[in-house]
């Protein structure tokens, strides 16, 4: 360390050091001379002063570092001397490195799962199992939290929470809709972030006599209290119950859900049957416990508490992360990483080829350097320094590309909801990755030309004027690189082809509704104020009447789920052909009112829609599933939905299948439509067909809701087309990205092929001339060149095809109605690649047949 400082000081005062050395030697000489009186003898006694001075200087210098510095300066000079090669390589590198950094940042941010819980991957959620037949479903007996908590040992901190929307009102501001998590104290024990103001929750808050308390999210605190610390102690009215604000969580705290408010889960809440159905039970696997072990223990505990027959698992224990959409899509994200990684490899191939081409021209220079004593290791190092400098410059430009790319991605996905740990901005990890791939790429594409050059045969290349490196080996290497690029290109083309195919299918799939000119809005009535079905119905009747009277509104209706947005699961029974009730099972359905079919333009195949609650409508898939080949009209079904004695209802209409499945829109789900009057819902979507652009009515809709209940906010007021676009966002975004990567890859691979074939032609001018002189036809020459180029394309295809089949399997999650091994897609990949390949070969081949044999023979 000390040594380093001394050397640094010496570096700073290099002249001083030289003078000192000079003086020291001169002094010694003078003393010698004085002693012997003879200057020659004095010098002889001292020896070779220059050499001694030199070795002293070396001691004081950073020899190794200064050699690096020399290499860098030399590299800069070389790069500046061939501006075209440098610029081309820089553009390609900036694109490749930029795209990689962008995708890495997106993926690493999306998969961070920074929810404020340690070891988030060890958290498990308990779901009701499939094996509970003929058990009264409303009680969810297997999910008895108290029972599980007291007995389960393999899962620690067993906790329960409920996520729901609440209405918040107080004297401070307008009523607002907030997301609230009610959670047991055991769940709070897992949460890492501590409140920044006030206190958190403990077991005391769960006691029956505790004052209702609420913890604010940072967001809600800013929005409602302007970030004022004195908010603690204030009273907040949540669903018409007063809660005391006890603290504020830091920004970004969002476990177990991205909530605005947290309240304790009291023992009384846990007993509430309506709560129980919406309860989510989770915990952390105890140390050393596997998922399978936890599954079997928890299931055993649950079974012992159930009197009835159990045919399968009563409880299923799954990783908590599986409930997060991003986690489910991770295969897709990794596939995207692969895709851009391939783009960068193709870029490296191109740059390597560029440098190989230049290597030929530099063989002489290198030979001379070797001849005058440069070691081969030093030469390789010098060349690698050069390529790393090139890639570092590319990386700097790539960083800018990444910043732009992230901004673009941010804009594109701004509409969708996403967890708060996902932030598409360059962070430290992004920069580290950028640096790593920049240097890595430099070494990768620099290695081939460097090894090639270091192997130069000094004798021959100094003699024959710089053609030494252009042997068959170099050409084979270039060909190999192109084949490799082609293989990667096949993978990318296949992936993007599949994505495009899937996106097209998605957009072309019949919605079976008319989405234009429909405005939608979500309304959520608090159960405290709207306790009975009558009050709920009354409110919505009033709302429908108000909205229907607005100018420009032609139809108004209610539904429990918008198109492409799922359905409710009911426990229910369906009458079979003989009129006997079938087994209790899961039935999927929507709750809609009489106007629903008319408002959305859903066609009824048979029968008619209900007016009140006199019957149900089923969709075609439902009819086909339960009554194949029979007339569904007049058949009966009933949906228990947690209540005994639900009446049987007669099917009075059959509707066409409407897309309800969000994740796989092409899947037809058997659905029934339950009349709203039979099953009034607190949370509904209001749909209104308008005669004017729906955007014009947004404010009027908000006001209409406020006029009926001033504590009630209208949510997600947007056009149906907007809603559908949001649901399809993933597919559109990924489709665009893959198409973009594939386009770059094809272009770069094509450039690589073209360059190699064209270079080959120019190298073989003489040979081609001879062939022509000996009677080779133009056709022969053309085929010769094209054949040679296409060999690489075909080889690349042969290698790329199996690779593509493996890689695209990761896409299956994001593909809609297209198998990852879709033959049509692969066929089109082959066509595109073949065409591009032919074009890449044909242009240089045309040049080859234009060669004038006479001129060619004189060429040299």
């Amino acid at each position: 360390m000390n040594k380093f400082v001394k050397r640094l000081r010496a570096l700073w005062r290099r002249g001083q050091l030289d003078r000192d050395l000079e003086d020291e030697m001169a002094f010694h000489l003078a003393m010698n001379e004085k002693q012997s009186g003879d200057s020659t003898a004095a010098q002889r006694r001292l020896g070779n002063t220059t050499a001694f001075k030199e070795s002293c200087r070396d001691l004081w210098a950073f020899t190794r570092i200064e050699a690096w510095w020399q290499d860098i300066r030399y590299a800069l000079r070389t790069l500046r001397n061939s501006p075209l090669v440098t610029a081309t390589a820089l553009v390609a590198l900036a694109l490749g490195i930029g795209a990689n950094t962008t995708v890495f940042t997106i993926v690493s941010s999306a998969l961070r799962f920074d929810m404020g819980v340690d070891h988030v991957e060890r958290l498990v959620a308990l779901h009701p199992g499939e094996g509970l037949e003929n058990v009264d479903p409303r009680s969810q007996p297997s999910m008895d939290f108290a029972n599980l908590r007291s007995q389960v040992k393999t899962v620690e901190n067993l906790a329960a929470y409920r996520f729901s929307a609440v209405n918040v009102s107080d004297s401070r501001a307008l009523p607002e809709r907030y997301w609230r998590v009610q959670m047991t104290a055991s769940g709070w024990a897992l949460v890492r972030p501590k409140p920044i103001v006030g206190r958190g929750f403990g077991p005391d808050d769960e006691r029956a006599d505790a004052t209702p308390a609420v913890l604010l999210s940072h967001r809600a605190w800013e929005r409602r209290y302007g970030g004022d610390p004195s908010a603690v102690g204030k009273v907040m009215r949540i669903d018409d119950v007063d809660h005391v604000v006890v603290g504020v969580m830091p920004a970004g705290a969002q476990f177990p859900e991205d909530a605005d408010l947290w309240t304790p889960m009291t023992a009384k809440d846990l007993m509430n049957p309506e709560f129980r159905r919406a309860l989510l039970i989770f915990g952390r696997l105890a140390d050393g416990v596997t998922l399978a072990a936890a599954q079997s223990e928890v299931d055993g505990v649950a079974r012992r508490a159930i009197p009835g027959k159990v045919t399968g698992p009563a409880v299923s224990v799954r990783p908590l992360l599986e409930m997060i959409g991003v986690y489910e899509a991770r295969a897709m994200l990794y596939a995207m990483m692969f895709a851009v990684g391939f783009v960068l490899l193709i870029v490296c191939g191109d740059v390597a080829n560029l440098l190989l081409g230049r290597a030929a021209a530099r063989a002489r220079e290198i030979s001379i350097r070797i001849a005058i004593g440069a070691g081969r290791v030093r030469i390789i190092r010098q060349l690698l320094v050069e390529s790393v400098m090139l890639s570092t410059a590319g990386g700097v430009a790539g960083g800018l590309v990444a910043v732009g790319g992230l901004r673009w991605f941010e804009n594109m996905t701004a509409q969708g909801r996403r967890p708060s740990w996902i932030q598409f901005t360059m962070d430290a990890r992004g920069f580290a990755y950028l640096a790593a791939i920049s240097i890595g790429a430099g070494i990768l594409f620099g290695l081939a030309p460097a090894l090639q050059l270091a192997r130069v045969d000094v004798n021959s290349s100094v003699k024959d004027g710089g053609r030494g490196a252009e042997g068959p080996r170099s050409r084979r290497l270039a060909g190999l690189l192109v084949g490799f690029q082609m293989a990667l290109c096949v993978v990318l083309l296949a992936a993007s082809g599949l994505m495009i195919h899937s996106t097209v299918k998605l957009y072309n799939a019949p919605l079976a509704i008319d989405p234009a000119n429909v405005l939608t809005m979500r309304v959520d009535l608090p159960e405290t104020k709207y306790a009975t079905p009558d009050r709920v119905s009354e409110f919505y009747r009033g709302l429908e009447a108000t909205l229907g009277s607005l100018p420009g509104v032609t139809h108004v209706s209610l539904t429990s789920h918008l198109p492409l947005s799922g359905w409710d699961d009911f426990r229910g029974q369906v009458e079979n052909a003989a009129g006997k009730p079938g087994n209790m099972g899961e039935l999927s359905g929507l709750v809609v009112d009489a106007n629903y079919f008319g408002t959305l333009g859903v066609r009824l195949r048979h029968g008619q829609a209900f007016q009140k609650a006199e019957g149900v409508v089923v969709n075609e898939s439902f009819a086909a599933k339960f009554w194949p080949g029979q007339d569904p009209l007049g058949k009966r079904l009933r949906a228990a939905d947690g209540r005994d004695g639900q009446p049987w209802m007669t099917v009075i209409g059959v509707a066409t299948d409407v897309q309800q499945n969000r994740l796989s829109p092409l899947e037809r789900t058997p659905l029934f439509y339950l009349p709203y009057d039979a099953e009034p819902q607190r949370t509904v979507y209001v749909l209104a067909r308008t005669a004017v652009p729906p955007g014009n009515l947004v404010e009027a809709f908000r006001r209409a809701v406020q006029n009926l209940d001033q504590n009630l906010p209208a949510q997600d007021v947007m056009s149906l087309e907007n809603h559908i676009a949001q649901q399809r966002l993933d597919s559109a975004v990924f489709g665009k990205l893959f198409a973009f990567f594939a386009a770059i890859a094809l272009l770069l691979a094509w450039v690589g092929l073209y360059a190699v074939v064209a270079h080959g032609v120019s190298q073989r001018t003489q040979e081609i001339g001879i062939r022509m002189a000996l009677g080779g036809t133009r056709r022969d020459i053309f085929t010769l060149v094209v054949k040679q180029g296409m060999r690489q394309v075909l080889g690349g295809f042969a290698v790329g095809l199996p690779l593509a089949l493996v890689v695209t399997r990761g896409l299956s999650h994001g593909l809609v109605g297209v198998s990852p091994s879709d033959p049509a897609t692969y066929a089109s990949v082959a066509v595109v690649l073949g065409f591009a390949g032919l074009l890449g070969c044909a242009i240089p081949a045309r040049r080859a047949i234009r060669i004038d044999p006479l001129a060619a023979l004189r060429h040299e």
Binding site: D20, D23, F27, H28, G47, F52
Partner: protein, 96 residues
């Protein structure tokens, strides 16, 4: 080691060190005077000795070297080492 030992007696310049080694060894050990300097500089860099410019007896600018604490320690170690080696050699040579 010899240089360190010489400097242990008194701070000295390069020429002085060369002279001193020759004289104390009664002309048996002759240092190649020039190669003394790289050695001195290495020791300076390693922190075994310190250097300072001063006036010599004949009013010339000269660089004086002085032993540091680290140098003293190194000298002790090396001297020990040497003593052991010398004794070992002596024992081998005296054995019949």
């Amino acid at each position: 080691m010899l240089i360190l030992k010489t400097l242990a007696r008194a701070p000295m310049h390069g020429w002085g060190v060369a002279q001193s080694i020759q004289q104390t060894s009664e002309e048996v050990l002759r240092v190649e005077e020039g190669s003394l300097y790289p050695a001195l500089h290495r020791m300076e860099l390693d922190g075994l000795i310190d250097a300072e410019w001063g006036q010599s007896e004949n009013k010339r600018r000269a660089k004086y070297y002085r032993l540091t604490n680290r140098g003293r320690k190194a000298l002790a170690e090396e001297a020990d080492h040497w003593r052991q080696l010398a004794q070992a050699i002596a024992r081998v040579m005296e054995a019949v």
